[in-house]
């Protein structure tokens, strides 16, 4: 039988929910199991309700689900908010001191975790004050879960010891003691009705357990990014924090005064030939609009990661949405070439952290990578990426001969030479014979301002031609990705993070409802692979466009680029990621009743 568990822990922000969940997930990962963890929190520092769902299974997992098998609580609010999502055989870990009459109504398996008792034990053993040990409840819930699931204590102990290192090493014994207390007590008390069991598996191969910002950060470092300018914003700041905490990687991480400066600095770095990037989220992304256009006009390679979150304006700053597609594709006055890509899972976050720089260098234009809060804050086990095969592509550079040839002639270089593919070899400032100018004004081949109408005709067209070149050169598999049977009842069409739930949902639709489904994920969003998408859509029996925003930004883009109106859609905009079950239900409603639109509402 397949192993699968959905575990959820909740509590006030700042009470350690994250670390508890991470500990639980890491231990499961260390047991060879596959993990998908999803973090939900308010735009608040301390006190508001946050929770973390961890799915564990013996096969790779790709997205969140609604039902909860084990709900770990140490306060009442979490119990009340989440208990309705318990599966019929699901269990609750609860604090007997806090629970009130009726709170556990309808809960089949309620496991008492006497936190106060455990804490007193720990306090006595380590001669600490009880009030100072409240934070330990997290470890206690994890340990209790462990006891319930019948996993070996040893692995938990090891992970706890790994967690408390350096200055915090002295806390390890106390935490291990606490964990053991809760573990043993729960093993004893384990109710019979509780059926879940997780068994360690072996031979899963080399795997890593990372969240989205870490995956991207590593991709960037490997790509040789040396300048990351940024202005703090949730959730993009985490990536910068990650880079900054790895000074050995040589990335100069610069906190700027605003997003305009951050964009300008990254472009400044790009002009100099240094791989440069900036990361931001919606409001900051808006502020970069003007400068991104300048980079397009001046053919500067630069990478912008935009971590989408609920918009517009400040919106839902810590919640999920795919609402910045229109701005990424169309933002900015006038026309300039740009590359927009959207990785759709943790592996792709890693790859595109790397690959985005190759695209920027090759097409000498801004590359916008649309990622989102959901995956940025999800932590997942993935096979170690095969980075050994990855290659750096710096694009067309001025050759030493070219430079040499210009030394006489004032040392200047035709930086913006009009070429057939639109790409002009570039020197790096500092090179003798490479002098050029940049300007936001229309310019000649050296980069000097000119308003000559003929030059404008040609130079503007030259720049735009780079998009055609990109569409020709980028391998089809990096433009769109197709999954499932060639022919199916349903074709899901999506971009970005819904990919995961759609893959899982397709499985369920087939196995449980006899509906076959395949999936087309568009990875390259600008220039848009109209041909590839059209071919797939024309072959589809019934297409459903799935995205996380209210207006159907992607659906509109598809219509704009292919002329095809997708007959059905599934949308969600309440800030919480789609779950497998609600997608399955929506797909069934569409298949059975030809419903045009299904809006999803799941979420706490």
């Amino acid at each position: 039988m397949q192993q699968h568990l959905s575990w959820l822990i909740g509590g006030p922000q700042g009470s350690g929910v994250d670390s508890a969940a991470t500990l639980f997930a890491r231990v499961c990962g260390a047991s060879g199991l596959w993990v998908f963890g999803q973090r939900e929190y308010h735009s608040n520092i301390k006190g508001d309700h946050s929770y973390y769902q961890v799915r564990v299974a013996d096969t790779p997992l790709r997205g969140p689900v609604g039902p909860i098998d084990v709900l770990a609580t140490f306060e009442r609010r979490t119990l009340l908010l989440h208990k309705e999502y318990l599966t019929s055989s699901g269990a609750v870990l609860f604090d007997p001191v806090l629970v009130k009459a009726g709170d556990l109504d309808g809960v089949k398996v309620a496991v008492e975790v006497p936190y106060a008792e455990f804490i007193e034990k720990v306090a006595a053993e380590f001669q600490k004050q009880v009030v100072r040990l409240q934070i330990i409840k997290n470890v206690l819930s994890v340990a209790a879960t462990f006891g319930l699931l019948g996993l070996e204590f040893k692995i938990l102990q090891e992970e706890i010891e790994k967690l408390f290192v350096g200055r915090r090493a002295k806390l390890a014994p106390m935490n291990v003691f606490a964990a053991r207390t809760a573990y043993e007590s729960t093993v004893e008390r384990k109710p019979r009705e509780f059926r879940f069991q997780l068994e360690p598996i072996a031979g899963a191969g080399e795997r890593i357990f990372v969240n989205g910002v870490q995956a991207i950060g590593m991709g960037k470092i490997l790509a040789g990014c040396k300048l990351q300018s940024y202005y703090p914003i949730t959730p993009a700041a985490d990536e910068c924090d990650f880079l900054e905490s790895h000074p050995e990687s040589g990335v100069a991480v610069v906190q700027c005064e605003d997003e305009i400066a951050a964009m300008a600095m990254a472009i400044g770095g790009g002009v100099m030939g240094v791989r440069s990037s900036t990361s931001t989220s919606g409001p900051g992304f808006d502020l970069k609009t003007e400068a991104i256009g300048w980079a397009g006009m001046n053919e500067v390679p630069v990478v912008v990661f935009n971590y989408q979150r609920g918009g517009p304006a400040t919106g839902l700053p810590t919640r999920h949405e795919q609402g910045d597609l229109s701005q990424a594709i169309h933002g900015g006055h006038g026309d300039f070439p740009r590359i927009v890509i959207a990785p759709a899972d943790m592996e792709e976050y890693f790859v595109d952290g790397f690959q985005s720089f190759n695209l920027a260098d090759r097409y000498q234009t801004p590359v916008i990578v649309l990622v989102d809060k959901a995956l940025a804050n999800s932590t997942v086990t993935i096979p170690r990426p095969e980075t050994g095969k990855w290659r750096v592509d710096r694009g067309a550079l001025a050759s030493p001969e070219d430079l040499q040839g210009n030394r006489e002639n004032g040392g200047q270089f035709r930086r913006f030479r009009i070429t057939d593919d639109g790409i002009s070899p570039r020197p790096f400032p500092g090179a003798e014979g490479g002098i050029f100018w940049c300007t936001g004004d229309e310019h000649d081949e050296f980069g000097h301002i000119t308003e000559d109408p003929g030059n404008r005709d040609r130079m503007h067209a030259k720049r735009m031609r780079k998009e055609e070149t990109a569409l020709k050169e980028i391998p089809a598999r990096d433009q769109v990705r197709f999954f499932g049977p060639e022919s199916a009842d349903l074709t899901f069409l999506t971009w970005g993070s819904p990919k995961g739930v759609l893959l899982e949902a397709s499985e369920l639709l087939r196995s449980e409802h006899g509906i076959s489904a395949n999936l087309l994920v568009v990875h390259l969003l600008r220039p848009f692979p109209s041909g590839l998408v059209t071919a797939r859509l024309q072959a589809a029996r019934r297409t459903i466009c799935v995205e996380m925003n209210i207006s159907g930004q992607f659906e509109n883009l598809v219509r704009q680029c292919t002329g095809i109106s997708i007959p059905h859609n599934i949308r969600k905009w309440n800030g919480r990621p789609m779950t497998v079950e609600e997608v399955v239900a929506a797909a069934r409603a569409i298949q059975d009743h030809s419903q045009k639109r299904v809006v999803l509402h799941h979420g706490v």
Partner: protein, 319 residues
């Protein structure tokens, strides 16, 4: 083989008005480069948008004419990427003290080795002479439908407050004095702000070349309007940057000097201090910066294989 002035000139079409003060600043920059003898491919000049911001096109070095108000952050990114190059930023007073003033203030906090020259003409050129942030309230240039309604800012005091480590003022038609100031500003290790009084004969009919050339009445009789600080035995330099008392004293002195009400306009160096540059501070964090600049750091080997290792980081994530 010394570099000559002609080598720093670019003959692309210059469309400044006849008599514009920008010409004096441009030629002072050319001359300063001659004095400093920096090879032209080792210099990069950034600018914003405005009449003055066309300057890079007239200098035979790398030149980047950016967006209105953004020369400083563009230049900052470039300097961090390749600190071996001499980085200049130039532009107008609207550009630098208006739309770009947030960057100015925050650049002061970093102290990258950049020289920022602001062409101060009291107006916005290309948009037909609106008041810039340096025009005094109540002043009505011929380009204004009504007298200016906003108070002027004091750019030198602003730079001081922002933390600039070299602060000076020059006058565009005093090419000799200005050249010296530019040389000093470039030589300074840290961010320097050089504000340059620049007549705009087209829109600002008050602060004209004639106006600045006049003698004015003072207690000691008529004297040139332009006053040289160094003739006044004013010393703005902090001798011991580690002495907070001296630093505070010199700052108050500079503030007092640039804030003083007087008929004459002082030019020269108002404040100077040696503080660690941003690159030095960064190198404290990032060990590799002690040996190579970001621009020098290799990205890939001959086969395109990435040369930055992530093995240790990856190991931390292994499960």
């Amino acid at each position: 083989m010394a570099f000559k002035i002609g080598e720093y000139r670019n003959d692309s079409h210059n469309d400044w008005c006849v008599g514009c003060g920008d010409f004096g600043i441009l030629s002072s920059i050319h001359k300063a480069l001659v004095v400093l003898q920096i090879p032209r491919h080792r210099v990069i000049v950034f600018s914003g948008v405005g009449c003055s911001s066309k300057t890079p096109h007239f200098i035979q070095t790398y030149g980047v004419h950016t967006l209105h108000g953004r020369s400083v952050p563009f230049a900052s990114g470039a300097k961090i990427a390749n600190p071996d190059l001499e980085v200049l930023a130039v532009g107008g007073d609207g550009d630098g003290y208006g739309i770009g003033v947030g960057h100015l203030v925050n650049a002061g906090r970093r102290n990258l080795s950049i020289t920022y020259i602001v062409f101060n003409n009291g107006v916005y050129g290309p948009t037909k002479g609106q008041a810039s942030p340096t025009l005094a309230r109540g002043t009505q240039t011929k380009s204004l439908p009504q007298a200016n309604i906003n108070d002027a800012i004091n750019p030198l005091a602003l730079a001081l407050t922002a933390g600039f480590t070299w602060i000076g003022r020059g006058y565009s038609f005093d090419v000799k004095g200005l050249t010296d100031l530019i040389v000093a500003a470039i030589r300074h290790k840290g961010t320097s702000l050089l504000d340059v009084i620049q007549p705009c004969p087209t829109y600002n009919d008050i602060h004209t070349k004639e106006f600045w050339g006049e003698k004015v009445e003072t207690e000691s009789g008529p004297l040139p309007r332009i006053l040289r600080l160094d003739e006044e035995s004013y010393d703005g330099k902090v001798a011991d940057p580690a002495d907070p008392e001296e630093v505070a004293r010199k700052q108050v002195q500079a503030f007092e000097r640039c804030n003083r009400i007087e008929a004459r306009m002082p030019v020269g160096v108002f404040y100077e201090i040696a503080l660690p540059t941003f690159m030095e501070r960064l190198a404290e964090r990032i060990p590799s910066l002690k040996f190579s600049t970001p621009a020098q750091a290799p990205v890939a080997d001959g086969q395109g294989r990435p040369t930055t290792s992530i093995e240790t980081i990856l190991a931390g994530f292994r499960v």
